[in-house]
Symmetry: D2
Subunit: 344 residues, 4 copies
């Protein structure tokens, strides 16, 4: 086989006929691809070489005699290390994410009031956080739970930015709110539940603010990178990934933090990757351990829930750190970062 864009391996069933094989070879030639047939004792294998976008479009599994199809290249392009070898650095309101330094994002899960927000923002900034978190729109499992303050919450976040100098990240849940959130926030977040909401992804790819894409707790790393591709190909190259745990059979934690995703993503993609230790474990007691692990694993930063009074939190109080606990954690973060040659 000689060099072309891509190759895909089509494995035939044992009982595939010569006509089945010829049919596929012909169809490949129709679309301008080369077909390399290799007949083994038990299986015939067809190597299809040509334009990936064209080859992957056809439903080869539906052709008579086909057992399975093995693509050689990943379905995403622009977010891969093949496309760009050097690490991307994303500018979030003046704070670089990715590259050498480690970034800590902190704040309340949801904005509840000016007092709650300002108390938290001031405290996390003094402890060393660089970006503020706080949501105005909340996707809640139960329809009877608090759903966020809406635009009022965004206004409070903008005031807290004024006060502390920290840029902020906020989630967008619906295509109709993108313009609003984008007009306030420095970094737009796509939450885990919306990771495969392709319409939303494409649209945040067409607005100017950087985007943080959380991994669906359902999603493979490949699907996550595909979702990032949806944003990237629309022209918005400022994409930050954030691992927040996947769903497994283990009930002790809300989700299982997939710490391996950090080195795996670093190998496959040039995008920065953060870790959210608060939403993955879902329990305050686990946050310090998971945060240190994320930093040591090589994540470009962490995002941590902090609340001045977790007992009264309207969302996810069980996982929020007290500001004093957060300050202690920041000392640990700095120590571990330094140990692996990073600055926090």
């Amino acid at each position: 086989m000689t060099g072309q864009d891509d190759s895909t391996i089509i494995v035939m069933r044992r009982d595939a006929t010569a006509a089945n094989i010829d049919h596929i070879v012909e169809r490949l030639r129709d679309i301008g691809a080369e077909a390399h047939v290799s007949q083994g004792q038990l299986r015939t294998v067809i190597g299809a070489v040509g334009d990936r976008a064209v080859i992957q479009q056809l439903p080869w599994e539906a052709f008579p005699g086909v057992e399975r199809v093995v693509p050689i290249l990943k379905p995403y392009r622009f977010v891969s290390r093949d496309f760009q070898a050097a690490d991307s650095v994303v500018d979030v309101g003046g704070v670089p994410v990715g590259g050498g330094a480690l970034v800590v994002i902190a704040g309340p899960c949801a904005v509840e009031s000016r007092d709650q927000l300002f108390a938290t923002a001031t405290a996390v900034q003094q402890a060393g956080a660089r970006i503020l978190r706080g949501d105005a729109f909340k996707p809640r499992t139960s329809p009877y739970a608090f759903q966020g303050l809406g635009e009022k919450g965004l206004q409070l976040l903008a005031e807290a930015r004024e006060e502390t100098g920290m840029p902020f990240v906020a989630e967008v849940l619906d295509t109709r709110d993108i313009e609003l959130v984008s007009s306030y926030a420095d970094l737009i977040r796509i939450g885990a539940r919306n990771m495969a909401n392709f319409t939303l992804l494409a649209e945040v790819g067409r607005q100017p603010k950087p985007v943080m894409l959380k991994r669906g707790f359902t999603a493979t790393i490949e699907e996550w990178l595909n979702a990032a591709e949806y944003i990237y190909k629309e022209g918005n190259h400022q994409v930050i990934l954030c691992e927040r745990g996947i769903r497994t059979f283990e009930p002790q934690t809300r989700n299982t933090l997939d710490i391996s995703a950090v080195p795996v993503v670093k190998g496959l993609s040039h995008l920065p990757i953060l870790v959210d230790p608060s939403h993955s474990g879902g329990r305050r007691a686990l946050v310090p351990s998971l945060t240190r692990a994320a930093v040591a694993a090589g994540a470009d930063g962490v995002m941590v829930d902090v609340h001045p009074s977790p007992e009264t939190a309207q969302v996810d109080g069980g996982q929020a750190l007290h500001p004093t606990e957060f300050a202690t954690l920041m000392d640990e973060v700095r120590a571990v970062a330094k140990a692996i040659g990073r600055k926090a």
Copy 2:
């Protein structure tokens, strides 16, 4: 303890202090709930009895000394058997779903052309399908894949309905398309990827057409019923559930059809439940076996992908049945349905 709305069990840590316990008891009384304290040798347990919506709002895990919280009632209400004991029957353009009869929905995954759609619609109707499927908007994992015909597809579906008399179901992906899809379709589908898109759920709950809610391949049954509650509580009580497989470690199938969901949902909820054997397995060869299993398990119907020429399908051709295969399957469906005392 005497009768009230609900009870929640708060289990204290072994090292919880008397002050920790008193603090929770006081907080419960503040919100008008009763607290029943039971001190064991190793753990103190507090039974909180009162208004569920109020009790479940507080982040008890965040209170000092709390080990875990065990809610006794499910977080959903209206879709539960507790709320309505009798099976719901949903009217889809004149075809009842739920109750005694078994309904078969069939058609192409995506509408590609008039010829493709009409050939399929005519064939599945003759074989015994009662409702047509066909999508105009497709959520695709890869941003480079076919995304659907849009409104043109809906127009073709309406024409096929005219021609065959079959009502049709189509997916809606975005809040901005609800009005459009609702104006054409007899049944609106929320796909697996959008099961936790709560904004979309609430809005389809405020339009008049019945809604089919597919289970997220990520979702527990409880989360699925919560999502149905989001639709139901907005006033739209015509909700149909559709199981389509969950994500597991098994790579032989695209997803693992959770056949147990059929009897489990029948026990927990009064809503009709269908099964999609095509998207769960993802392979044509598995569809007959899974379809028969769904019917035998007691599902209220199945939804099957059919394509006149799977090899040329632009979406999921690998799982679509040929019309002749579908006709054979319908014979099997009728036989199994009859065996368990249902009419198909």
Copy 3:
């Protein structure tokens, strides 16, 4: 490429050097395999063709420049449809398992007493069961739970066989008990927890009684068939597979019955496959639905827990059917079996 035993695809990293590629090609030639190099724009792919056992032995992932390795053939041989196209039929004390007829195995989870066993055995036989189940050795999650009657239990089972004429199946947990269990039972069962206990598998492959191999709730279908290969290759070809649910994130059921495993295994292997609806769901209320689904899906039989007094059962009482419930279920099984052209 010309015909040889097998082929394996070695995909090189983008930054693989010519020396990396040459090194692998050389190593392949050293072991007598052919190497077919295909250079694409982004990846070089090496097709290795030769003796599978030799090629799969080498750790290709450890070679410099290798990204991943894609084997074309499955690692098992004798249990595959490639090796034997016709269905295997296993003789269990005169009762054929596999082939056209459907077999129902029933009895208590554990043998507790003569009365309990005989009452159950008589009842299930009258209802139509052909093989008796009942264990003398129980693997219990908790070290404080009832562990079985041991040899006394096997003696009671043998007496029940005498009384009813039904052969029986019993589990073996330890290599040291094989001879004992084999001397009494007609069918030896390897439980889910021991599916990957390769020493035990090899040894039951060297004794004369047929073996039922339950799927580990951890195991992929490929691993399960590999485990069957362990038994088969030792000379014991009387292997019966039994699906009993896999571990997923869904908490409503003890395990998720993987109903798709029935058609998948039928495609890959010639061995008979049964389903255990009792241990998969773990709840009595689900057993009828799952049993009917298994039969409709095409399983060669089912194995059902029955207990004359579930409330007093020492093991898994929550999932056992009363004998009268079992009799009703047998009527349903016969009806569904007949609907799909099988005799029960």
Copy 4:
């Protein structure tokens, strides 16, 4: 409710009758337990207080009218922090595991030859490892793969101990080999596949050497601690836990390292916990990142595969580090350990 050994919550179905409730209350009194009935509007809840071993023995789910059962205490006792608050320290041939210091275990996955073993042992010792790993019996997925050197391998390990002064750990697969392995090794390992092999667990609990219990890739943390209880209750209190990844839907890694297990186990149990970064990820490139994460998370040590020539390794070569890579990793381990106040 007044203080007794334990309490269990029995939640009744909505349609449970007064007779159903009385029946349970009576049965509880029969076994000497107290019953506290709490009638809510939608559910009646029975709190059962008494001897746990007695209460948990009865199959409450099998009683008419029962919806579900919620145990308040964990099923294990001796390995819990409730039983012993202080961390256990296990002595492995003079090397303490647990407590303040961090231990690194390293060596080849399988012993293949004297040269391979000695080269590795010398290298890892010089780099700072304190315990040698190397197996003589290997559980292999494929029956056609290398199964280990048997006693000859143990002899070589003993010689390597003589040479380097490092104690060694080796796996035992079968009850019949315990005496043999125990006579050579300083630490006996129960592999992930045997974590639920209760017979094996009980027997290693009756021999004098300390035991490392790997987590089954199938197992919840609670099941893992139950398995440790099996060993502990037989009198062997020298138990070390080792996390090695769980099975999830993510295919990029062989298993998903459950890093959260480190802080979760530290909260629930007094036993030392190690992490195996080699077998969890299954890929050499991930080992440094996962090792650092494990140390930062607070694990008591790590166990790493090292091979002088991974390309020729007969088992798991794809994940083994070269000795020079291991030496670099040891520098990182020491730096991270120091950052969190531990000595490596």
